[in-house]
């Protein structure tokens, strides 16, 4: 772990510069540029609002914000996991020519996607003002929960990146798994009121970390309540363990990645 912080310090500028460049190119290369960062979640929000509101007739207070919070977190997690599976082989030109700690690549991607999530949450803020959501001190819980979200995502991505080097069909597997988790996470419906069976509710809401994070983010941001239950805290510690495990695995095997890719 000491090596990790040393490397992090050493490559900090690289990570920043690379994320910035990547964001910039993404913006330059698309027709609508930076507006996509707002348009994309907005469009998805409308779709889910339609499905949930018109088809399922769900009645959730502040529904657009409700969906938007879920989407912001979900998109971040989803994009990170999908990207990390192929991260090493997509960067083969760099990886085969210079040594760099492989988590640096991951951090660059994190930078890009965290920025997108940040923009997304600014929109949440705008919506909150627009809908006159009552604002309380509970809103400060937002930060520790986000730290947990980020740590969890990083830990999972580390492990996905590692396994992705060796297993060809991981992309297919992750696609299925992610789709499943998406529906189990309640991005566009309220798990806590829809699921009545207590066992299922614990399973879905507490043991599925993403559902838990999103549920509690909604609680603190729009329902003026403190986080419910201890599970976010428990997931915080599990996430730290995941990160340590991920970083150690990558350090141990990173120099064999290039050999496998030939």
């Amino acid at each position: 772990m000491k090596r990790f912080f040393k490397d992090l310090k050493k490559y900090k500028n690289y990570i920043l510069y690379a994320s910035k460049s990547e964001l910039k190119t993404e913006i330059i290369n698309s027709y609508l540029g930076w507006t996509w960062m707002i348009l994309e979640p907005l469009a998805f929000m409308l779709i889910y609002m339609f499905i949930a509101g018109v088809i399922f007739k769900s009645k959730v207070e502040y529904f657009p914000i409700f969906v938007f919070i879920g989407l912001s977190v979900w998109n971040f997690f989803n994009k990170m996991v999908v990207a990390s599976v192929k991260l090493i082989s997509n960067n083969r030109d760099t990886v085969t020519k210079v040594y760099l700690p492989k988590f640096v690549l991951l951090f660059t991607k994190m930078g890009v996607n965290m920025f997108k999530m940040f923009v997304s949450f600014i929109l949440v803020g705008v919506f909150m003002i627009f809908y006159k959501v009552p604002i309380t001190w509970n809103i400060l819980w937002f930060f520790p929960i986000m730290v947990t979200v980020i740590l969890f995502t990083f830990g999972v991505s580390c492990l996905m990146m590692h396994v992705g080097v060796f297993v060809e069909d991981l992309t297919n597997l992750t696609n299925i798994a992610l789709r499943m988790v998406f529906y189990l996470t309640g991005v566009f419906f309220d798990l806590s009121t829809r699921v009545h069976n207590v066992v299922y509710r614990t399973l879905l809401l507490d043991l599925n970390p993403l559902a838990n994070f999103i549920y509690n983010l909604r609680n603190v941001l729009i329902y003026s309540s403190a986080p419910v239950g201890m599970w976010t805290l428990i997931w915080f510690f599990i996430s730290i363990l995941l990160c340590i495990l991920g970083i150690n695995t990558i350090y141990k095997y990173e120099n064999t990645y290039v050999k496998v890719m030939r």
């Binding site: 510069y17 990547e22 960067n91 030109d93 040594y99 060796f166 290039v258």
Partner: protein, 248 residues
Amino acid sequence: MKNNNKEIAISVNDLHVYYRDMNRFSLKKNGIKGKGSGKIFKAIKGVTFEIPKGQILGICGKNGSGKSTLLRAIAGIFSPDKGSINLHKNTISLLSIGVGFQKQLTGYENIYLSGMLLGYTKEEIDKKVDEIIEFSELGEFVYRPVRSYSSGMYSKLAFSITAILETDIMLIDEVLSVGDVHFKEKSYNKMKELINDSNRTVVIVSHSTKTIVELCDKVIWLHEGLIRDEGDPEKIMTKYEEFMRQEQ
């Protein structure tokens, strides 16, 4: 040798590098375990040498003899399976055809990224960036994405970055044939200039007898992952050429 009292820049000790036949596999055949049981291909099987600071070492050998693998192992891209490599805290850069660029980014951004990977700070690169652009002869192209470059421009940029952002140790993989005749000459001269700096240690992998005899102090002849011979460039290269002729 007269270099005995000099500092050592690179020591390679009983180096082994293997490629396990663990090509990416699908779940059909194996479990989740990372290591396949496949055959082992031994690219380097026990190589030991030391390079004193300031020496220019040539490495020759036929295709597949492990030259590039050795170079990459020294650069830290491959991990040794056995043995060790000690760089004595020198900075190192590997110069090979087409250094890794992020293709969607511009040449300008890639200069910064490559420089940072070589351990330079942004300020240090700021000072050198104009020199790099000038040497690379890319002109306005430097502000376009690298994917729009021709292969010649690509290598020119790669060469310029490594040549101008100097490191203590330079590893050169067949790079002396970059670009057109004019740039080739220019890069060859730049190379000589870099090499003549007595603080710089250089390792050159090349098939060209001319390059090695003209530039190097010493040659190592790799053959099937082992050192077959080493010593004075002219003597070794004569033997090597004779050997290659017989192979045919």
